[in-house]
């Protein structure tokens, strides 16, 4: 999986590309932990090029959103591909996480 980071004002956008599985999820977990530790409080996870997420990926998404919220911040998920949307729906993540149709909409929700 590739992670591309960009920053707009105080919002960090992480664009995820490829597969978020048990092998790739530690990479995202470390990235999110580092952002929180560095004081970042608003993160958009752009999933427009993420074509697979496993249980390990979901755990990192939930754990990351929880850590951000505990630190007084927020995470917003954007542009789920059909495969990722299906897993979010199955696991009830659509009901508890902030999911938006685009990265721009997700960023606007955090502004």
């Amino acid at each position: 999986m590739e992670i591309t980071a960009s920053t707009q004002n105080d919002i960090t956008v992480l664009a995820l590309q490829g597969r978020l599985d048990g092998l790739a999820s530690p990479q995202l977990e470390q990235r999110l932990d580092a952002l929180v530790a560095a004081g970042t409080r608003k993160v958009v996870l752009d999933c427009s090029a993420l074509n697979y997420v496993s249980s390990a990926g979901l755990r990192v998404f939930l754990g990351g959103a929880k850590k951000l919220k505990s630190a007084g911040g927020r995470a917003a998920f954007a542009a789920l591909t059909p495969a990722v949307h299906e897993v979010f729906e199955l696991s009830g993540f659509l009901e508890v996480l902030a999911v938006h149709p685009s990265a721009a909409a997700a960023a606007a929700s955090l502004a």
């Binding site: 048990g22 249980s55 929880k66 009830g92 508890v96």
Partner: protein, 221 residues
């Protein structure tokens, strides 16, 4: 490695399934408890990074020992598979070993000083084993944490989501968390229970078994 102070999911399910006062198992379907213990072992291995799952299959990521003999034994069984199998299949395999899982977890809880073992005879013949509580701190702490989660609106910690999902799957949540305040949060509980894919599969497997047993019953109208 699991921190030595932290209970495994197998231990937590075994502990929460016991009545504080009597040391006997709380009322719940036996098959449900077997599948919940099997699911708990898979969840432990998942949170330790040894396996990963998706709706289609369970994948072994690492066979490195966890330091927990119960989980290492389960990991060996999973690693011996020739082809990836779905979580539901593994639950069926491991549920057949649930008596071993339960006994091993109870032994561990006794070693930790949380429970003590009592052997009695009923009618001077039948052996009955009970596990009265010695130290209720762990059970109270877990219940309090999950209660706050169910009644509040906060995001769950991934471990709490897993535990709640397993408790819901074997209907233990309905025994532990009952009353009007929980009835009003039924939607929240259902939503939290879906958040762990293994827990969701445990629930599905138990539902399927229940339907199959109902279908096989000669009393069916």
């Amino acid at each position: 490695m699991i921190p030595s102070h932290q209970l495994t999911f197998v231990e937590e399910i075994a502990l929460l399934a016991l009545d504080d006062a009597t040391g006997k198992r709380l009322p719940m379907p036996t098959l449900g408890f077997s599948y919940a213990l099997a699911g708990a072992a898979l969840c432990d291995l998942f949170h330790l990074g040894r396996i990963d799952t998706d709706p289609a299959a369970l994948t072994v990521l690492s066979t490195a020992p966890t330091g927990d003999p119960i989980l290492d034994e389960v990991l060996k069984v999973l690693a011996a598979a020739r082809t990836p199998e779905p979580v539901g299949s593994w639950l069926g395999v491991l549920a057949q070993r649930s008596a071993w899982l339960e006994a091993a977890a109870d032994d561990r809880l006794v070693e930790r000083g949380i429970l003590r073992r009592e052997e009695n005879k009923v009618l001077w013949v039948f052996g009955v084993r009970r596990y009265p509580t010695v130290d209720n701190h762990e059970r109270v702490e877990v219940r309090t944490r999950l209660r706050t989660l169910i009644l509040g609106d906060d995001l769950p910690d991934p471990r709490d989501a897993t535990l709640l999902s397993l408790l819901c799957a074997c209907q233990l949540a309905a025994v532990i968390f009952r009353g009007p305040e929980y009835n009003a949060r039924a939607d929240r509980l259902a939503s939290l229970a879906k958040m762990d894919l293994v827990g969701r599969e445990v629930s599905r497997a138990i539902d399927a078994l229940g339907k199959a047993l109902l279908g096989a019953s000669p009393l069916r109208l």
